[in-house]
Symmetry: C2
Subunit: 376 residues, 2 copies
């Protein structure tokens, strides 16, 4: 149940109630691809960071350890010891970005595993079956994610098929949720809007999926080749057709500035590997811009990564020490940097929510996007 | 100041007071080679694990980031945010095990850095200067560590030189501790007994260094090629000549069984990379023996690594989950396993101390060495 608490222009401040607790939006979901956060973080660290929703990948967990084991272990929540909401993506994105030798038919996709090359078949029904076994809070529809730009004909054909697949996802999820051994009979299902960079296909697709009355709607197929301006344009194009009283999720996005811009245009949910991936390369998000901790000037810097940050890393360790850990290739370097960057993202969302609560998002957003994109 | 609280046969229960706090012995020191624990553990994790003494490496910190930076940052304690005792080894072991193209003279050793091949000179005085800049609680003498077995002539020559080097270490440490900008003017110095597997050389060497009235004495040059029985024999040979009211440290040892045997023979201090190194390969120490978490039989095992363990890993995660993390090559696998193995070692020492306190070490040791060496 999504409850819109407040709006300011298109921007929305809401809360989304699930069986695993209420999510305050706008929210950033922290990515734990294979039921673990890259950089050596556990579910205990996620709590510390203020994470509301953990995101895991259907494709990765299907390949290893397999959804049967996870179900046997009591579902993903119990498996990874996380009692707050979990969103599982459908595997669609991974099938189209990681896997090789794809063959798409109306029935589904046959592809080669990125681990051992084994042929795997995935259909909308199978994606739902896997996600039901994982027992996430929110399941995502199985879709085809196309790189931008793509030929109009193909995008149209793919978007139409994705609508038919969505109906099959919905039917299968209803069937699965009614089964007696289902771990989470209240599993939610979000639909995904596709259509590449073609405004009319996007709108047509959004209208079609909005009619299906799903628990939320995502904008998919962005941050896969188009410019930031094209991405903002598509959000603006699609947004009026997204159900107002359902959460809106912009998949795989993005930089702090991208998030500020997308919230401004009415988006509620985000996820991205950027904070953890950048952290692992020493790129640190701070309240005064982005810094590269490998820079010589930090060798004797006793201040924390971000003096305004309240994370475990910033409360305990200096730039000098963290730079040393990166140079010495110590695993701890990555862990401390990832903890900081993820806390930075979660705190950015807290600040966004507070600005919305206090009716000052417009000025907050304009001020912050100038600062957060800078390299210092 | 070492205070022997109790003895049972040769075994000793003591406490060693330093400017950074009192160490309860027998103690296992946790290895943080380059001022970080392998597997992504920080000083905060060491507190959690019940670590009393952290051990860092003079050689590694000299090469990177360099002792000047560490001193500039306020010393190793401040650099890594650890306020309990730190022992720094002298670099001797690393110079002889890691570095290449060594040239040893009476003055010191010239060798090639394992990082960039750069020629480095290290003398007893330089080792003391580096350790003084790091400002550890306990500095180790600069010695030559020879692999076993080695020719008698060479061992004799090397042991004699190590005695002369020890006197130079002591003189230099006295000079450094009196300097006005010294961070830790109370830095302690431990001497190191050498002599390979030759009982008479070991005894002669121990007698010579015992006269120098150092703050503690280590047995070096063990666990470098000889059998466990040879190691126990050497401890028994040397022990009567080790000063009774000074702590005794068996360097780089060892398995839980090695530690039980050495405590039985009168040793107080231990350090070893084994718990963290084994953890990183999935070899887990438990209260009922050693298990390999990669084993298929743990794929659906919901119990913790060791049901009798109180560590963060065992309180929160299952064998099934940890096995999955290893298979998926997630960094978190190593972190969780290292946390457990280090806690296992620190708890073994707690149990050893309790058995000594309660005058039942003999039976405890006999029972435990049967269990802890088993593979399950």
């Amino acid at each position: 149940m999504f409850n819109k608490i407040k709006t300011e222009g298109k921007a929305r401040r809401g809360c989304f109630t699930t069986v695993h607790g209420t999510i305050q939006t706008p929210v950033f979901m922290n990515v734990g691809t294979a039921a673990a956060i890259k950089g050596g973080l556990s579910s205990l660290d996620l709590k510390d960071i203020g994470c509301q929703v953990e995101l895991s990948n259907t494709y990765h967990l299907h390949v290893r350890p397999g959804e049967k084991i996870v179900k046997e272990m009591g579902g993903l929540h119990k498996f990874m010891n996380w009692d707050r909401p979990i969103l599982t993506d459908s595997g669609g994105f991974q099938v189209f970005s990681l896997a090789k030798l794809r063959n798409i038919t109306e029935e589904g996709v046959t592809f080669s595993s990125h681990i051992d090359g084994k042929r795997i078949f995935m259909s909308p029904e199978m994606s739902m079956q896997i996600q039901s076994a994982l027992a996430s809070t929110i399941a995502m529809a199985f879709d085809e994610c196309i790189e931008n730009p793509a030929p109009r004909n193909y995008v149209q054909k793919s978007a139409d098929r994705t609508v038919r697949w969505l109906q099959r996802c919905k039917n299968e999820m209803q069937r699965l949720s009614a089964l007696p051994d289902t771990i989470n009979p209240n599993q939610l299902l979000f639909g995904i809007n596709q259509g590449g960079t073609y405004a009319d296909i996007r709108i047509e697709n959004m209208k079609a999926i909005a009619q299906m009355d799903l628990d939320g709607y995502a904008i998919g197929g962005l941050a896969v080749g188009e410019t930031a301006e094209e991405m903002y344009d598509i959000i603006e194009t699609v947004e009026p057709y997204m159900t107002d009283h359902k959460p809106r999720y912009l998949m795989g996005v993005g930089t702090p500035v991208n998030i500020l811009e997308a919230v401004y245009r009415g988006v509620d949910f985000f996820d991205c590997v950027m904070p953890s991936r950048n952290a692992r390369h020493g790129h640190i998000f701070t309240s005064s811009g982005i810094l590269n901790i490998m820079n010589e000037k930090y060798a004797q810097d006793q201040t924390p990564l971000d003096p305004n940050c309240d994370c475990q890393t910033c409360r305990n360790f200096s730039r000098s020490y963290i730079r040393h850990l990166f140079k010495a290739k110590e695993m701890l370097a990555m862990r401390l940097a990832v903890i900081h960057n993820l806390r930075f993202y979660n705190r950015l969302m807290e600040d966004i929510r507070l600005a919305l609560d206090e009716n000052r998002y417009e000025s907050f957003y304009k001020q912050q996007k100038e600062i957060l994109g800078k390299r210092i």
